[in-house]
C-alpha cells in the first residue's frame, strides 16, 4: 500500500469501516510511513475536538458528511492562506492609465505644444513698432497657414467683423444724435451733415476698394480709421 491508497482509506479506517485485511494493510503502512501517521493523528485530533465540542458538530452516523465539511474547512483555510501569500495587484493610481487615455493625453499635449509654438513663432516674427506699417501688407507664412486651416480669420472675415463692431457703435450714437438734432440751430445742423457726408464718402470709397481687394490692408486700416472718425463725430454731437 502506498501513501495515496492509505490517505484514501484513512478516514474509513478511523471509523472502523474497513474490513480486517484492509485495516491491517493501513495499519502496516502507518507503522512504516511517518507522514501518513501524522495525517492520521491530525484527523484523530479533529475527531476528538468534535467529540468534545458537542454532538451538533458530529452528525450521527454520517462520517461522509463530516469529512466533506472538514475538507471544505481545510480548503477554505488553504485558500485564505494562498490569498495572503499572493501579492496584491498594484493599485491603479493616476499614472496607471489605459492605452486610450494615454494616447488622448499625448495628443492633447501635442496640440497644445503646437499651438504654443505657433504663437511663439508669430510673436517672434511680429513686426517691430518701427516697421509695423511696412509689414502690414505682407502676411506671415504662419498667418496664411492658420487662415487655410480655419484657425485664423481671413482678411474678408476680419473686415466684416470690424465693420459689424463699428456699425453697432455708430448706430448707438446715431440714435442719440437723431433725438437731439432737432434742437440744433441751422448752422450746426448743416456743418454736421456736411462733414458726415465727407466721412461717408471715404467709407464708401474704402468699402469699394476692399470689395475688389479684401487683402488691401492699408484700405482696411483706413476704413477702420474713418469709421472711428464717424463714431467720434456722432459722439461729440450727441452731447449737444
Amino acid at each position: 500500500m502506498n501513501c495515496e491508497d492509505c490517505k484514501g482509506l484513512i478516514t474509513a479506517f478511523m471509523d472502523n469501516d474497513l474490513d480486517e485485511s484492509r485495516a491491517a494493510s493501513v495499519r502496516q503502512h502507518l507503522a512504516r510511513c511517518g507522514e501518513c501517521a501524522l495525517v492520521c493523528e491530525d484527523l484523530a485530533s479533529i475527531v476528538d475536538v468534535c467529540s468534545n465540542e458537542g454532538d451538533s458538530l458530529l452528525p450521527e452516523n454520517n462520517s461522509h458528511q463530516m469529512w466533506c465539511r472538514i475538507n471544505n474547512i481545510l480548503e477554505n483555510e488553504q485558500k485564505a492562506v494562498q490569498q495572503q501569500i499572493v501579492p496584491e495587484p498594484p493599485r491603479r493610481g493616476l499614472w496607471h492609465l489605459s492605452f486610450w487615455q494615454l494616447a488622448s493625453g499625448l495628443a492633447c499635449i501635442a496640440i497644445v505644444s503646437s499651438l504654443l509654438t505657433v504663437v511663439a513663432i508669430r510673436n517672434y516674427y511680429e513686426p517691430a513698432a518701427t516697421d509695423s506699417i511696412a509689414q502690414t501688407t505682407s502676411r506671415t507664412f504662419v498667418d496664411r497657414v492658420l487662415m487655410k486651416v480655419g484657425l485664423a480669420e481671413t482678411p474678408q472675415q476680419q473686415i466684416e467683423r470690424k465693420l459689424r463692431d463699428r456699425q453697432a457703435a455708430i448706430e448707438y450714437w446715431n440714435a442719440r444724435v437723431q433725438t437731439r438734432r432737432n434742437q440744433w440751430d441751422n448752422t450746426t445742423r448743416a456743418a454736421f451733415d456736411r462733414n458726415m457726408r465727407e466721412i461717408d464718402d471715404s467709407v464708401n470709397e474704402y468699402t469699394t476698394i476692399l470689395q475688389r481687394d479684401p487683402e488691401d490692408d492699408l484700405s482696411s486700416e483706413m476704413l477702420d480709421s474713418v469709421l472711428n472718425d464717424k463714431m467720434n463725430l456722432l459722439r461729440d454731437f450727441s452731447d449737444l
Binding site: D185, T188, E198, M222, L233
Partner: protein, 252 residues
Amino acid sequence: MSWVQNSGLLKTTVAMLGVVFFLFCAGDVPAQKKFSRTYPAGQSVRLKLVNRTGTVTIEGWSKAEVSIQASMEAPTANIQPQSLSGEIVVNLVRDNQGRGEVGIVNFLIRVPYYTMVDIETMVGNLTVSNISGGLVRAHISTEGDITLLNIGASNVAADNVTGDIFFDGELQEGGNYRFSSNKGNIGLRIPFNSSFKVVATAPSTRDISFYQCAGPDLSLLGDGRRMVGKCGSGSATLSVTNQRGSIKFYRR
C-alpha cells in the same frame, strides 16, 4: 428854388439816408458780449476748453496767469470756467447743454508757455502758439483749420474732418505727434535735425512730399499711398493721416 436851397435839401436828404443806412446795418450785426477772466497759474497748469462754434486762439506768454477773453454773439452762451488744482476747464457744451441755439463764441486765451493745452470745438478754427508744455491737443469735430505755431510740446495731436492742419515746431526726443484730417491739407514745418520715426498716409491723393531731413531712411508702401521710415535715430514718433488731401513737410 435857387441852387443854394437845392443844395441844402440834398445835404439834408443824404444825411438822413446815411442815418437810416447806419441803423439798418447796425440792426443786422448781432449784439456782442464780452467775457473776461484771469486766473493765477502755478508751476503746473492745464487748460481744457470745449467750444461749440467759433474761433479759439491760445497764446503762450511768460506771465504766470491764465487770461480768458471771449466775445459772444447772441444768443449768448453761458460760460462758467472752473479752476481746480491747477486745471482750468471751460466747457461750453456742458454749460449750454439742451439749449437749442447758442451764438458763436470766439476765444482768446493767454496761458503760461509751459501749460498743457487741450482744446476741442465743434466748428471753427483753432490756433495755438508759443506752447512748450507736455501736451497740445487740438480737436475739431467737423470743420475748421488748425494752426500750431512755435510748439515745443512733447505730445501733440491735431485732428479735424474738413480743414487744413499746419504745425510749426520742434519734435521733442521721445515725443508723440499725431495729425489727422479727412479732407484738407496737412503741413508740417520741423527742424532739419529732427529725429523721428514717421508714418505718413495719404491714400487718395498719394501726395506726400518729404523734406530733406538728416539721416533719412524712408520708403513708400501701398503704391505710394504711405511713406514710412525715420530720420536720425528716430526717437520721436510722428503719425500723419490725410484721407483726401496732401501731406507736406517743410524744413524749419
